[in-house]
Amino acid sequence: MPKDLLVVKDLQVWFPVRRGFVESLASKEQRFVKAVDGVSFNIKEREIFCLVGESGCGKTTTGKAILRLVEPTGGNVKYAGPGLSKALMSEAANQAVQKKLTSVKDAQADLAAGIIDVRKLRKDKMKKLRQKMQMIFQDPYESLNPKQSIYDIVAEPLVVNNLGANEADREKRVMKALDDAGLRPPKDFMWRYPHEVSGGQRQRVGIAGALVLDPAFLVADEPVSMLDVSIRSEILKLMLDLREKKGLTYLFITHDLGVAYVFSDRIGIMYLGKIVELGPTEEVIKGPRHPYTKALISVVPKPDPRMKTEKIILKGERPDPAHIPPGCRFHPRCPYAMPVCKVKEPSPTFVSQEHWVSCWLESGEAKK
């Protein structure tokens, strides 16, 4: 049984809503945009875990909060992979205890198990750890600096982290990363600029930029959504190969259930800042339990006009995360909403060993 590389518990990212002067005088309560509102999941070593949801559901914010590219406001993220030396880990634990962020007992238990409490790290150690936890961005047209050569783009993480003994060593590492990302031979690509290569190759440059630090964990945020369908699976295959060769673990973020279906090991369906269903990919796609999952699956266009399936088209658009409905947050759009859904939030119910769903329809309590 592979061990957990990452355990996310009750992760919360709330952004305060700016208030006008008059409103603050009226001393109304501070409101928040609850982008991520209590998300828990774990990712095993060498696993591809996929977060799926509509835009604005908080999937990207979750990915960024794990790497602390946005600061979480609650919950914790525990990481049990390479990144910090034993000495640094115990130093970090001491600092956390001193600042009263954690109890001595918890810190010692984590330390003994080789677990790093990501949220409690100081900035300098977070920067060090981030060398092993990298991100691949969505849009290869926007995320690469058009004025930098591919060499400069891929070498930048080395420069920032002061890695590589000298220029020759850096060049070697960059060439290795480009080669790993499938830009072969690397010499042909190194001195070109982003506009001189195709969309698929651009995304490979983005991947090389993450690989150059030799990470263990990658957050891939919609890495193929901007690419033509004909080259998407090349990039996905590259990512699978890298997992085999380098033992990588992925958090894969997408709105495309079709891609999630063929690529990931387990899936979490997110709605308005919360995971509503989570389980092994095939089980979730073939036997969805949450009404939202069912609807999402039903509207994925089928690449065949002979296949006519019943579509569950939800009315309206997702509500605003600054005004989350009470009870089950999906109830205003749910075709099966019951009175209980409007007042009480359902908690996860396991429907099989690894598959849970947060819905009153599946919960024993409501049936009573």
């Binding site: 033509d228 369908v229 699976s233 495309d256 509207v299 266009p301 690449p303 002979r306 088209i313």
Partner: protein, 320 residues
Amino acid sequence: MALLEVNDLRTYFKTQEGTLKAVDGIDFNLEKGQAMGLAGESGCGKTTAALSIMKLLPANGYIAGGKINFMGQDMAKVTGDKLRAIRWRDISIIFQGAMNALNPVKRVGDQIVEPILLHERVDEEVALKRVKELFELVGINPNRIREYPHEFSGGMRQRVMIAMALACRPKLVICDEPTTALDVMIQAQILQLLKNLQSELELAMIIISHDLSVLAETCELLSIMYAGKIVERSSAVEVFANPQHPYTKGLIAAFPNIKGERRMPASIAGNPPNLINPPKGCRFSDRCYMAQAICKEKEPPLIEVLPAHFAACHFVQPRR
């Protein structure tokens, strides 16, 4: 007679490096009330083909040859006031990315009223009444006509665009990637709306998308474009059931099928050719798994392989 007949259309662009042949000899027909999908990778010329029909090409683009026969007029030759009278009254377009296509400082109602007043001798009151009807038709609350585009969500803005395209009761609507920037749920809503409108209003539609699955759900006819040419054309069912061209087969295989087996879809290796100096012979030959010597030499013509099913490949033979 068909509503739209496109014959050997060629649209070129003048660039610093030379003439770019974005559309290089395409043919198709469209009857009243028919929806045709135009599919292909980015840069294959599908948007250029559509813009040529409306004559909305950028300054360096021009129609270098061929005929676009729309309701008895050759759109390739029409200019000036005559052209202006046809645009939006008979042919309208729903642009890619509704966010950028609407004027942010004008109320949506006023934006839709504008073409009605330009094309028809009605007063503003009548036009506004029509806008309200259009809003109802596309599923927006008619009370929202005095709102600005930023007050609408992405899906709603796309509905506004659709209402605007229908303002003068056109016969042909061109939809350029109508759902690309939208979420799956909103995409499903918009596609359903387009389909309903098409049958209710007997609209002819050309839907442009790189996403074959979107076209599979909405169109009766399907044309596959590659590097400025149509390589396969037939009814949508026929193309999916019986693809002839290796490129079409590749595109279909590139889709993950959520209802099918769980496996990684195939990809088409390589990139489309440069259209300033397109290769001799078949333009797909560099990426084709079937390519032989002849493919590098001779360009395959578009032949009728099966009744009303055309493909351009040296290795397909007419079967009757």
